[in-house]
């Protein structure tokens, strides 16, 4: 029986190639997107699921109350790590990490530089107790007990000591250069984690190395008020102790330690291991749950569109198969058997789509490689994917096939055989459904188009706005942290000697970037101070010229620490009557009185999502970390860059030189928005494609249904334009209803998104209209082409066949 079903299904598919093509194309696109998103989800949730007792492992997070705004982050004050297990009950184990950034590794025996890495951390032995590993050499009990010892992973051992056995590496030494130089003896080698993990560290220097009072202060681990995201604290709770119990116990502990500090309101809470990958991990590969959820919605919408398409076309074509239903019923087929037959036909299509869809996954992966996690790969034969192959087609078959098969199998045989199906009078559920499904498809297409157009419009707007400074011909490089004032100055001097360079400046941050340093300032009024929040930049006096920031009054400064520059917004906030009035005024900043010597124009030091803040320029030489260079106009930029890199390497022989254009940093401002736009754009194209295919199939069907009517009208004297108009009218109404439905969801989403920008366009309603008109045109084109062919047909021939 099933063989018979599949046979007839196969022949039906072969016979109606257009229908098969549309179905398979539509469903396979939906399927491959769902498959990819499914795998992305599996990947995102696969991190660190393999540690024993993983549900009892937590990272301690700090939560600070900034005047009502709760800001949480994953660092903890150093003293908390010392006392947590003695003061909080229910902690079985604790692990303290102090993560390092861009640490240089050197082999002291040969002075061979192994390069910089982010995988170095200070760690205590507790870390290996909470996250146990296989030890290839060394004693897990006491490997990290003594200062100046290090445990390394197998992968880096092979890099540092190629060809050596783990046992031979024990006792060898490694030098780690950060702001400090640490020479450590290898006391253990552990295996790398094979499965996906956010614990990316490969070099574990004993925590006792930084346990001296002097080191503690240097690393900021000495006080409760010093918060540092490098200082990480993991705990494993005793079995039976809940997260809530521990979170509660943090309250009194925090109160005790912060009670004499009025202005700080700090608390702690536990972050489950399972959340790491979505919050804050160590190599910036977090996937936000919002983005994942967005993807899930888009995947479901695309799949829904493809499914609707299928339902729509199948029910429309059902009449063509009514005869078969009639015959089968007269031969003794019962409804259940017919439903099963049509479902098996659907299943065949779904399986075909699945094969095509899986093949499409790789294409999608290449297209979207920049949006996917770097290490993300699809394992087509993994257990969960095999399950997907089996269950998803069944689910999809049920979703797509049930309604058409119910319609088909419900036909009364004696009428089906006569071809009387459409009741011309009254209400037809089938036609009603079809119209509604079409409207849904068009609505989502229109909504997607509106979203993409408006996003694009706003992104164009913000990227084309004047920033208030001149970013052309400005290049910058990052300098190693605290690399010494003399060395930085000498690099700057070397740069200035180049004829290509018109000016060079050292600063703590770029003129415009994602970084932000805020503080407060006091304006003396009579005997008190008026205080307000400001943004601070640590720059030298060449900064303003190098970045082309207009100076409105005063001088660009003399590199003196008791002089400051401010921007116009600052002047307004402070209540000075004019820029000139501000010159020479004294303000209290960072506990000291400073003199304003210059006023600059306002410029955007952050994205246009944010307002320009009152800004104060100060100078703090040791903390310079950026060298910006303004090149002469008309330079060969690639050549200039090469030259700058060469000079940099001469001054910093162990660093990798990488001069970059200021634009590249600023391009990151709207990366997330561009990402959303591109993903939506892709979804939009698919939605249009699928809906158009659906319309194509549907209109070809309905028009062939109306061929007789068209012929009779032609005989009675209707012209071709009249016939086109008659057929198109119905579709115009469909698109109008779809448009009405699409407007609100699109508006709602866009209003939210636009409100995130301090500088934004007014809601561009003309783009709404444009989207509607665009879809109407596509629709009329498809229907028009079909009806034009139909209108051309010879009425004598059509009517003779009746």
């Amino acid at each position: 029986m099933i063989k018979n079903y599949f046979k007839i299904a196969w022949r039906n598919l072969q016979r109606n190639k257009l229908r098969t093509f549309i179905h398979i194309l539509g469903l396979s696109i939906g399927l491959s997107i769902c498959f990819l998103i499914f795998n992305l989800l599996v990947y995102a949730y696969s991190f660190d699921g393999f540690h024993p007792d993983k549900e009892r492992i937590f990272r301690v997070n700090t939560e600070e109350n900034w005047g009502g705004d709760l800001v949480s982050f994953s660092g903890t004050p150093g003293p908390l790590g010392e006392v947590i297990d003695s003061e909080i009950p229910g902690i079985e184990n604790k692990a303290r990490l102090y993560t390092l950034w861009e640490t240089m590794v050197v082999l002291p025996e040969t002075n061979q530089v192994m390069g910089r890495t982010n995988n170095v951390t200070f760690s205590d032995g507790g870390f290996f107790e909470i996250f146990p590993r296989t030890w290839l050499a060394g004693n897990p009990e006491n490997a990290l007990e003594k200062p100046y010892t290090v445990v390394i992973a197998e992968s880096v051992m092979q890099k540092y000591f190629p060809g050596k056995e783990p046992v031979d590496v024990l006792g060898r030494e490694l030098t780690y250069i950060d702001t400090d130089t640490i020479r450590a003896e290898v006391t253990g080698i552990v295996k790398d984690f094979k499965k996906n993990s956010d614990l990316i560290f490969t070099d574990f220097i004993s925590f006792s190395t930084i346990d001296s009072q002097e080191r503690k202060e240097w690393f900021g681990l000495h006080s409760w008020t010093n918060l540092n995201s490098s200082s990480q604290l993991f705990v494993k709770t005793t079995a039976g102790v809940s997260k809530a119990q521990i979170d509660q116990a943090f309250g009194p502990l925090a109160e005790k330690n912060y009670k004499d500090k009025e202005e700080t309101d700090i608390n702690f809470f536990l972050e489950p291991l399972a959340e790491f990958h979505f919050n804050d991990n160590y190599d910036n590969t977090t996937i936000s749950k919002t983005f994942l959820n967005g993807l899930i919605y888009i995947g479901l919408i695309i799949l829904a569109l493809a499914t609707l398409n299928f339902i729509n076309l199948e029910t429309a074509q059902a009449m063509g198969r009514a005869k078969e239903v009639g015959i089968r019923k007269s031969l003794g087929g019962v409804r259940g058997q017919l439903i099963f037959q049509f479902l098996s036909e659907t299943y065949l299509i779904v399986i075909g789509s699945m094969l095509v869809g899986i093949a499409l996954v790789e294409v999608l992966k290449v297209t979207f490689s920049s949006y996917l996690p770097v290490k993300f790969a699809v394992n087509y034969l993994s257990g969960i994917n095999l399950l997907f192959y089996i269950l998803f087609p069944i689910l999809l078959t049920a979703l797509a096939g049930i309604y058409p098969s119910l319609v088909l199998s419900g036909y009364k045989p004696q009428r089906a055989l006569k071809g009387e199906l459409s009741t011309s009078r009254g209400f037809s559920l089938g036609a009603f459904m079809r119209k509604n499904l079409t409207i849904l498809q068009f609505s989502s297409s229109i909504a997607f188009i509106i979203l993409v157009l408006v996003l694009n419009y706003q992104i164009k707007y913000v990227t084309s706005q004047p920033m208030g400074f001149d970013k052309e011909f400005v290049m910058y490089t990052r300098l190693p942290f605290m690399s010494g004032e003399d060395r930085m100055e000498s690099l700057k001097d070397r740069m200035l000697q180049e004829s290509q360079v018109s000016s060079a400046s050292l600063s703590g941050s770029l003129v415009s970037s994602g970084s932000l340093w805020t503080s407060d300032v006091g304006i003396p009024i009579d005997t008190t101070f008026k205080e307000f929040n400001i943004q601070v930049m640590n720059v030298d006096s060449a900064f303003i010229r190098t970045n082309g920031i207009p100076l409105i009054a005063g001088v660009p400064g003399h590199n003196l620490s008791d002089e400051v520059l401010v921007n116009e917004r600052f002047v307004a906030e402070a209540g000075y009557s004019s820029a000139e009035d501000a010159i020479g005024r004294e303000v209290r900043f960072s506990g000291e009185i400073r003199k304003i010597v210059g006023v600059t124009g306002d410029f955007h030091s952050r994205t246009l999502r944010e307002e320009v803040r009152p800004l104060l320029f100060t100078i703090n030489r040791p903390y310079f970390s950026i060298l910006s260079v303004k090149l002469q106009n008309g330079q060969n930029l690639a050549l200039a860059r090469e030259n700058l890199d060469r000079i940099f390497s001469e001054v910093y022989p162990y660093e990798t030189a990488s001069f970059q254009f200021l634009d590249t940093e600023m391009d990151k401002f709207y990366q997330e928005d561009l990402r959303i736009r591109n993903v939506l754009g892709f979804a939009c194209i698919l939605a249009i494609l699928i809906s158009s295919m659906g319309l194509f199939g549907l209109s070809s069907f309905t028009i062939s249904q109306r061929l007789k009517e068209i012929s009779i009208r032609k005989v009675l004297g209707a012209t071709i334009p009249q016939i086109l108009g008659m057929i198109s009218k119905e579709y115009v109404i469909l698109v109008l209803i779809s448009f009405a439905i699409a407007i609100y969801p699109a508006y709602y989403f866009l209003r939210d998104w636009l409100n995130g920008f301090e500088y934004r366009v007014d809601m561009p309603y003309f783009l709404f209209a444009l989207s509607g008109i665009g879809v109407l045109l596509i629709c009329l084109l498809i229907v028009g082409a079909h009806s034009f062919v139909a209108a051309q047909s010879n009425p004598a021939k059509v009517l003779k066949d009746e």
Partner: protein, 224 residues
């Protein structure tokens, strides 16, 4: 075997009922070869559909043997339908996507006949109608007469006791029509009850009883 009592079939229009069948009383005995005649619109096909359980939308009583069709459950009805009736249509109504062999096989599949038995039944039928060489052809590749032969083979494959034929020769020329009628006669001799609707008087001569319908009523009922 079959007994109809006061069968009415009508269409409800806005102002009046339009009767397609009115007050039909009819008894058909097992082994009869009955012909329904009458002009277009007399109600021949409608009556045939009611007899064949394809139409349930009528009033009156219908007994098949001892059983009242109107009071049977859906499942029993379906089983009765499968085991007792075979249908032959004017337009053949073969399934275009299936071959001759598969078309004949379809009712057997619905009757859950085992694979071996199916093969032997179909082989016998193909042999009987000289269609062995054509078993893998599709309906579109056959002439009208051949298609109707397949239709007959399919109708009798399940060995029904009643064969219903609606204008079986309506689309055929006289030579083919004769052939089909002779097969009917043969089946009748083998004991099958046959009810046919036709326009052609000469087809009635193959049967044993002739009923004339006019405007939904029985005009005459005579033995031949």
């Amino acid at each position: 075997m079959i007994q109809l009592k006061e069968i009415d079939k009508f269409i409800e229009s806005r102002f009046q009922r339009i009767f397609i069948l009115k007050g039909i009383n009819l008894t058909i005995k097992e082994g009869e070869f009955l012909t329904l005649m009458g002009p277009s619109g007399a109600g021949k096909s409608t009556l045939l559909n009611i007899l064949g359980l394809l139409d349930e939308d009528y009033e009156g009583e219908y007994f098949f043997g001892e059983r009242n069709i109107r009071k049977m459950r859906e499942r029993d009805l379906s089983n009765l339908h499968k085991s007792e009736f075979g249908y032959i249509f004017q337009a053949y109504h073969l399934i275009d996507e299936l071959t001759v062999y598969e078309n004949i096989e379809t009712p057997l599949l619905y009757r859950k006949v085992s694979s071996n038995e199916r093969k032997s039944i179909i082989a016998d039928l193909l042999d009987r109608f000289n269609m062995v060489a054509k078993k893998d052809l599709f309906p579109a590749q056959l002439s009208g007469g051949q298609q109707q032969l397949v239709g007959i083979a399919r109708a009798i494959a399940g060995r029904p006791r009643v064969l219903l034929a609606d204008e079986p020769t309506g689309n055929l020329h006289s030579g083919q029509a004769k052939e089909i009628m002779e097969i009917f006669q043969e089946l009748h001799k083998e004991g099958t009850t046959i009810i046919q609707a036709t326009h052609a008087r000469e087809n009635a001569d193959y049967g044993t009883r002739l009923i004339n319908l006019l405007d939904g009523r029985i005009e005459s009922d005579e033995a031949i």
